[in-house]
């Protein structure tokens, strides 16, 4: 039975590759990334072979503890837990609990995260290549540690399964997780500074952690290398007890999960509120705009792309404060304009097959394009203006204001026009409605990358006039060029926006059914 579960997981993984060559490319990219991380860690572990025992012990124990924590937390916040072997799917087949548990636990090792963790963990043996007991201890610790990772992550996901199945929790958690991710740079820098300030404290921390379930298994090799057999035995007992306790908890949770189907409903509401549909004009374009704006607010996939925007100034402020000059802040406007305008380049793909409604009602392509762009513009224009003007209160170099505002507006309008064309013609692989924004989207990743980067290249060419004017201003130092840029950016941008909406609308009218057929492939 355990073998069956393993082969099932393996088959599911392989069949995932077979769906399309584009997907294979996507997985290959993910695999290369994982390989890079694994190789870097393995090299570090081998290099630690020649470090003094205390440093090696500290690094291995703290790194291992971090890995266990990551296994517990990431599936929870990313709601990207690997549910290919969702226990609730085995409800109807009678599998003894013990075999189900061991099968699911071992299946957790099949897949990139499980495999990478195992390989890196086993290489701690290289670090402790100092005596035979140390190597054996490290290997045993690696097995126990990796098993703890997988089982702990299963316990966490099973415990929160009913919570995670509720739509509201999914929506919120998937957005919240973006915040630390976007702020990764500043956070890592801050932690690094804190750590290097208190380096002397780390070995002490590692010693303490090594007596807890988080670090016990990772400490075996180090303890045996320094000849502390008694500590090694005790820690091995701690590690084994951890796994036993986690398994018991998992088994209990699983028993409960198998008989209580997840509840995902919300409360019934009778309200008579149409929201934005009552506010915006009752035209097809107005309705599309109202629908899009509702989605910007309610759909976490859209909200996730917006979370980046308020964090942009934070990142740039951090960078400026380390660089000591606020000049970098002035590009905030153009960058925010690009991010916001390009966010609708995959708008139809986000609709997925719900786009059938647009096709069935025979809404004109121009109305569709215009509604989506205006919805984005409704919040993008104020944000871009604030981001374009705000930094000058810090820098005081007001001579640059008109030029960079022109560039920002140019990028915003041109980008919206181009995005209207791109999303009318090409589909991108995006998470399906209701999925986590983090989830690996189905479909042709290669085409998505080609479309996205090709579109960005074209956008760069289209805003070249504004960019050239900025350069001219910086060379001549004449603020007149800035005012010209403001005029050109606005006029050219709006003209390209109108052209983009019309061309995209015409393409949509002509190729609506073909676009819908492409969307139907990835549902």
């Amino acid at each position: 039975m355990v073998a069956h579960l393993l082969s099932l997981k393996w088959r599911l993984l392989l069949n995932g590759f077979r769906r399309s060559p584009g997907q294979l490319v996507g997985i290959a990219i993910g695999g290369l990334y994982a390989l890079g991380v694994v190789v870097a860690l393995v090299v570090a572990l081998v290099a630690l072979r020649w470090a003094d025992p205390q440093t090696a012990h500290t690094a291995v124990v703290l790194g291992g503890a971090a890995a266990i924590l990551a296994w517990a937390i990431v599936p929870l916040v990313a709601s990207a837990a690997d549910m290919t072997l969702d226990p609730s799917r085995f409800t109807t087949s009678v599998i003894p609990m013990r075999q189900l548990l061991s099968g699911l636990a071992l299946a957790g090792f099949i897949g990139l995260p499980g495999l990478s963790t195992t390989i890196v963990a086993l290489f701690t043996a290289a670090t402790w290549w100092r005596s035979v007991p140390a190597v054996l201890g490290a290997l045993l610790g690696a097995v126990l540690g990796a098993l703890t990772c997988v089982v702990l992550s299963r316990v966490v996901t099973t415990a929160t399964a009913s919570l995670a199945a509720s739509r509201r929790f999914k929506d919120v958690s998937s957005i919240v997780v973006f915040v630390p991710l976007v702020l990764m740079g500043p956070i890592v820098a801050g932690v690094f500074r804190g750590v290097s300030g208190s380096a002397g404290y780390l070995p002490e921390l590692a010693r303490t952690v090594s007596w807890t379930p988080l670090g016990a298994s990772w400490s075996l090799g180090g303890d045996l290398a320094s000849g502390d057999v008694a500590a090694a035995v005790l820690k091995m007992l701690i590690a084994v007890a951890t796994i036993v306790a986690l398994s018991a908890a998992w088994s209990a949770l699983l028993k409960r999960a198998l008989v209580t189907p997840p509840y995902s409903g919300g409360s019934r509401k009778r309200s008579r509120k149409l929201g934005l549909f009552a506010l915006l004009p009752a035209t097809p374009a107005g309705a599309v705009a109202a629908r899009s704006l509702s989605y910007w607010i309610r759909d976490p996939r859209y909200a996730a792309s917006l979370v980046v925007v308020p964090l942009l100034p934070v990142i740039f402020l951090f960078q400026s404060s380390t660089a000591g000059s606020y000049f970098m802040l002035t590009v905030l406007g153009p960058i925010a304009a690009f991010v916001l305008a390009w966010s609708i380049a995959a708008d139809v793909s986000y609709d997925s097959t719900a786009f059938a409604l647009h096709l069935a009602t025979g809404v004109r392509g121009v109305d569709d394009r215009l509604g989506r762009s205006l919805a984005c513009l409704a919040f993008a224009l104020p944000v871009v203006l604030i981001f374009a003007i705000g930094p000058f209160f810090l820098t005081g170099e007001w001579a640059w204001l008109p030029g960079l505002t022109g560039l920002s507006l140019g990028v915003l309008f041109t980008g919206l026009g181009l995005a209207s064309i791109v999303s009318a013609r090409y589909t991108s692989a995006v998470p399906l409605p209701g999925d986590s924004p983090f989830k690996k989207p189905p479909g042709n990743v290669a085409q998505t990358l080609a479309v996205q980067f090709g579109g960005m290249a074209v956008l760069f060419l289209l805003v070249l006039p504004e960019l050239v004017l900025v350069i001219v201003q910086s060379v001549t130092g004449d603020p007149l060029w800035g005012w010209i840029n403001l005029a050109i950016g606005t006029v050219l941008g709006v003209a390209l926006f109108v052209a983009g909406v019309r061309l995209g609308g015409r393409w949509l009218d002509r190729r609506g059914p073909e676009l819908f057929a492409q969307l139907s492939v990835n549902r």
Binding site: R167, S264, G265, G266, S267, R268, K269, R270, S271, R272, K273, L274, G275, F277, A282, T283, P284, G286, A287, V288, A290, R291, S294, Y295, R298, D299, D351, S352, T353, A354, A356, L357, H358, L359, A360, T361, G362, V363, R364, P433, G434, P513, E514, F516, A517, S520, R523
Partner: protein, 263 residues
């Protein structure tokens, strides 16, 4: 049973839906193999067929969702593929297996369908209220469609198809996962609609339902029409189910499975 030639234009009286030589190939598989069919105005027309017979593909091509490789469809004489906007005004469709804009509330979704068709806000508001009441969804009008049950989702999609008072309704599997009370409810609405001159086309697996509900039926298998006409003509004295199995073939293997009686 009427035979329709692929090249002939719709005859008089103009049928509500006329398919002429519709064909579609997906890769190496021919999904629809030249279907020609007339659906008389004012009829309640059932399309039945086994799984993979090409029902959904045919209806998608007839409603402008999927471009046919050959042939075309006429809605009340309007060519769907030559004048799509005009044809789409005449029909309301409930496609099977597509998503809805489910982050809208039920009320918003139906309103959206109405406004997309360029209808007046006041008319839309009035019709949305009546449709939700008729389909017993008023209590959930403000709930997001994503939190609806499968049957409620079908009903709200049906409401979106009805909002502009179309002359032809094309419903792909409208009764799937709908509870019996709601199904009776929907049938009542559709019967009234047909009685007042509208035309309904439903595809279904459930022969009993089609026999009781529809006055015309077409049996489709392997991308072809095997029989079409009034229900009485097609079933020819037998039950529709027996006639269907006879037409489609197979399914008579009641032998074997002896072990199933041994317990």
């Amino acid at each position: 049973m009427s035979v329709v030639l692929p090249g002939s234009p719709p005859a008089y009286p103009v049928p509500a839906l006329a398919l002429r030589g519709l064909a579609k190939r997906f890769g190496g598989k021919i999904a629809v193999d030249g279907i020609s069919l007339d659906v008389p105005a004012g009829s309640f027309y059932g399309v039945v067929g086994p799984n993979g017979a090409g029902k959904t593909t045919t209806l998608s091509m007839a409603t402008g969702l999927l471009r046919p490789d050959f042939g075309t469809a006429y809605i009340h004489g309007v060519d769907v593929w030559a004048k799509p906007l005009e044809a789409k005004r005449l029909m309301g469709i409930l496609p099977d297996g597509v998503r809805l804009f489910d982050r809208l509330t039920g009320e918003q979704l139906v309103t959206y369908a109405g406004l997309l068709r360029g209808m007046d806000r006041g008319v839309v508001a009035q019709r949305v209220g009546e449709l939700l009441a008729a389909l017993d969804l008023s209590a959930d009008a403000g709930t997001l469609v994503v939190d609806y049950s499968a049957g409620m989702t079908k009903k709200i999609a049906l409401a979106s198809a009805l909002i502009h008072a179309p002359r032809l309704l094309v419903l792909d599997e409208p009764f799937e996962s709908v509870d019996p009370v709601s199904a009776a409810n929907i049938r009542g609405i559709l019967d009234n609609y047909v009685a007042s001159g509208g035309t309904v086309i439903v595809s279904s697996h459930v022969m009993d339902l089609v026999q009781r509900m529809c006055d015309h039926v077409a049996v489709v298998a392997a991308g072809r029409v095997l029989a079409a006409g009034t229900v009485d003509e097609v079933r020819d004295g037998a039950t529709l189910e027996a006639r269907f199995v006879q037409l489609v073939g197979g399914g008579n293997q009641t032998g074997g499975l002896e072990w199933l009686r041994t317990f």
